[in-house]
């Protein structure tokens, strides 16, 4: 964001002070800081991870958007870039990483697999989209998305951050304890989403009745 866009509109700052003084709100300043340093978790799943790395390299240079600092630990990361096919076996690890990330945190589903299961949706070990478990902010289509597409998606995320309000954004709500916590799924005879245990129990009983 340019200094002008940090400033609120309709304040006439003298021309020689425009790069020195900004009249703004805390919220705007806060969002400006957040959006300018979205640090991704250094976390690659599959093919898309290679395009994610390519987006970091010289030709595409993600550093222009303040996103070049890949953090290997979730505790220092702001954004989980789900870059590839989410398998049932991997899902508990992804959820654990997400739960360890400090707020505010964002999830970008990169590519067809992370968004919906993609070409592997029918697979027995594939989760049909990470949004069945995590709140996804931006979906980037493609298989894999080109680095340009990824950057476009990340700019969309920045626009989303710009619009955040203290009053409405999900991490500053009173009374709710940890609204972003996702319970850990369990690997059983198949993937058990513990939030849907009763539903599964009923369906399994129905299955026995019909056969």
């Amino acid at each position: 964001m340019e200094p002008e866009s940090l400033s609120l509109p309709n304040y006439n700052i003298p021309e020689d002070l425009q790069n020195v003084v900004a009249v703004t709100t805390i919220e705007r300043l806060y969002n400006w800081g957040k959006r300018s340093s979205v640090w991704p978790l250094m976390f690659g799943l599959a093919c898309c991870a290679i395009e994610m790395i390519a987006a970091q390299t010289a030709r595409y240079d993600l550093a222009r958007f303040g996103m070049e600092v890949m953090r290997p630990t979730p505790r220092q990361a702001d954004m989980l870039l789900v870059s590839g096919t989410v398998t049932k076996k991997m899902l508990p690890a992804i959820i654990r990483l997400y739960n360890q990330m400090p707020e505010p945190k964002y999830v970008v589903a990169m590519g067809a697999c992370a968004s919906s299961g993609g070409p592997f949706k029918e697979g027995y070990n594939v989760v049909a989209g990470i949004d069945k478990f995590l709140p996804v902010d931006v979906y980037v289509p493609g298989c894999p998305p080109t680095p340009q597409a990824l950057i476009a998606g990340l700019i969309k995320l920045q626009e989303k951050i710009d619009k955040e309000k203290f009053k409405t954004s999900r991490w500053y709500q009173k009374g709710k304890t940890d609204p972003n916590y996702v319970p850990m799924p369990v690997l059983g005879p198949d993937l058990i989403d513990v939030r849907r245990n009763e539903e599964f129990k009923r369906a399994a009983a129905r299955k026995a009745g019909t056969v």
Binding site: L45, G117, E122, G123, A203, A204
Partner: protein, 589 residues
């Protein structure tokens, strides 16, 4: 167009070989009688004995592929082995059959070829075949406790629609429904009847840790020391994806190590068995996602073998050009990631990726996609190289890549830190590498000059003048330098291919959605940048393969990881793993 290389000569050699094998073991070895199948059938009671003879008397020292086929109609489960000589030549196929009644038991060949280890575990995991006397028979791709054996023909996944694609629900006139709504659990899930998730006790990986303890070195110093078990991954910056490795450590020394995989197991084989032959082509792109062109090539060769069709002359050269460009960018990335793992964060990678982008530009120009090219077709390639792309390739091959490779060598090879970390750190010796079915640069750096481009030439590789890169120390430095040697050899091949490339059509067949593949089996293999990439296909004449199996280089190479790392330091482990140059898409499929 010249005639395709003669196929009768190797077939005769094989026929004589199989006759010799049957004469040696008249009681236990029978000839294969199904049309378009090759090899022999061994009685399972005598498998170990015959396999030992195949290795020691017949000289087939490299067991490359082990896989199973479920012949549901005949009520048989078959395990197929492909063995080769490291000195070159065609392979030896042998198989055992077992009644398809649980427990299905087949003797393990780990004693003879240690490289069978993970492949047998995979067959156990996906087919439920118990390999008796296997030292560590656990599930490998799926988790312990997963219900059923997915690759059996009577096992259906949750989103199962029909036996073969295209599904009726996807036709334009078909009414679209979400797969989720057809399943009782409203998701890609399949629980057994009357399953109660509330009372389920998940497996806590006792088997893994017990096996880790059993296979660890023992402390023999007499000092009382404590050992710790460390789990690296599946989220770890230097495991090259989602590999997990459980390590027993004493101080900094690795006593035992077990790789845990399957975190990117996306059911390539099962999906392939439902897709038409052509529909599999884009899936192969996503195996080893660095080298989609090589994957296409391996698969195309396997299907062409089965279809017995020639490949257009110009297309052969285009294929070689693409495969060698792929190899160059793979090895450049290898250098980048290796140095990353050694602590030279990013800078060498940035150099490598700069060149890779230029190669990807060419792939994009010919195929329309940077990474997932889907460029090859049976009988050739899908379209010709555009003129400007050809001139770009020439620029790269004659000018830029030699200069940049030399620059990278100049910047890195004499680097003191790199030498300190790499020199004299043992990776594998030749004998062990062969025993563990390791192929590719790691095998050649251990002094075994085995390169399928030379040992069992495919495509038009027999027309080029190149050396098989080989180094003899088997340490990390050799493993690192051999990648540069291979880049130089690839450039040599590319120069010749560009000069020799004829004009003409780029496909010997009419491009069509549905190819007719006769019943039979074929094993096509190529020298991918990471090692031997094989595709085993069984067709029953239908539009989809009956059995489709990928023999990935990464998966088999990592069998040797335990052997490589035991006794070395934990800080070397990351570099040793980088040496194998694994990629998870191929490893887990």
């Amino acid at each position: 167009m010249t005639a395709p290389t003669s196929v009768t000569a190797p077939a005769e050699v094989s026929a004589q070989l199989y006759a010799k094998l049957i004469a040696r073991f008249p009681e236990s070895v029978a000839a294969e009688t199904r049309p378009n199948y090759s090899g022999v059938i061994i009685k399972k009671e005598n498998l170990v004995e015959v396999a030992a003879a195949i290795r020691d008397e017949f000289g087939y020292d490299l067991l490359t592929a082990v896989t199973a086929v479920d012949y549901l109609a005949e009520n048989k489960m078959e395990v197929v082995y492909h063995a080769y000589k490291t000195t070159g030549g065609t392979g030896l196929v042998f198989r055992v059959q077992a009644e398809r009644v649980d427990p299905i038991e087949v003797p393990s060949l780990v004693e003879i070829w240690a490289g069978a280890d993970f492949q047998e575990r995979e067959a156990y995991d996906l087919f439920g075949i118990k390999f008796t006397s296997h030292p560590d028979l656990r599930r490998i791709l799926m988790w312990e406790g997963f219900e059923g054996y997915p690759l059996r023909k009577d096992w259906k996944e949750a989103f199962f629609e029909e036996e073969a694609k295209p599904f009726k629900s996807r036709w334009p006139e078909g009414k679209h429904t979400y797969a989720e709504f057809k399943n009782p659990f409203r998701d890609n899930l399949n629980f057994p009847e009357n399953f109660d998730p509330n009372s389920y006790q998940p497996d806590n990986e006792d088997d893994l840790y017990a096996s880790l303890e059993n296979h660890s070195l023992k402390n023999e110093s007499g000092l009382k020391t404590d050992q710790i078990v460390v789990n690296m991954g599946p989220h770890h910056p230097s495991t090259h994806g989602v590999l997990r490795v459980a390590v027993t450590l004493e101080g900094e020394t690795i006593l035992g190590l077990k790789p845990v995989m399957g975190y990117l197991h996306r059911n390539h084989d099962k999906i392939g068995e439902r897709s038409t032959f052509l529909q599999i082509m884009p899936y192969t792109d996503r195996l080893d996602y660095f080298n989609s062109m090589s994957n296409n090539l391996g698969y195309a060769i396997a299907v062409e073998k089965l279809m017995k069709i020639p490949v257009a002359e110009r297309a052969e050269y285009i294929r070689v050009i693409m495969a060698e460009l792929t190899r160059i960018q793979n090895h450049l990335i290898f250098v980048g990631t290796l140095t990353n793992d050694l602590g030279a964060m990013y800078t060498p990678s940035l150099y490598a990726f700069e060149e890779r982008e230029l190669i990807l530009d060419i792939f994009e120009a010919v195929s329309g996609a940077r990474m997932m090219c889907n460029y090859l077709r049976f009988g050739g390639v899908v379209r010709d190289i555009p003129e400007d792309a050809l001139s770009k390739i020439k620029d790269l091959v004659y000018e830029r890549l030699p200069a940049k490779t030399a620059e990278m060598e100049r910047l890195l090879n004499d680097n003191e830190v790199l030498m300190g970390r790499l020199k004299g750190v043992h990776v594998l010796d030749g004998e062990t590498a062969v025993k563990y079915s390791v192929t590719g640069p790691v095998l050649r750096a251990a002094g075994v000059p085995y390169d399928i481009r030379r040992a069992d030439p495919y495509s038009v590789y027999d027309r080029f003048d190149f050396d098989v890169a080989v180094r003899y120390n088997g340490d990390m430095m050799d493993n690192y330098l051999i990648r540069f040697d291979e880049i130089w050899q690839s450039l040599r091949i590319l120069e010749q291919a560009l000069q020799q490339m004829p004009e003409g059509p780029v496909n010997s067949q009419k491009l069509q959605y549905q190819v007719r593949v006769p019943a039979g089996e074929a094993y096509g293999r190529i020298e991918s940048p990471k090692g031997e990439l094989g595709f085993y296909i069984v067709s029953n004449g239908k539009p989809t393969p009956y059995r489709y199996h990928v023999r990935p280089a990464s998966f088999v190479n990592i069998t040797a990881l335990e052997e490589m790392c035991r006794g070395s330091k934990i800080q070397d482990f990351v570099a040793l793993l980088a040496m194998l140059d694994i990629v998870m898409g191929e490893l887990d499929r």
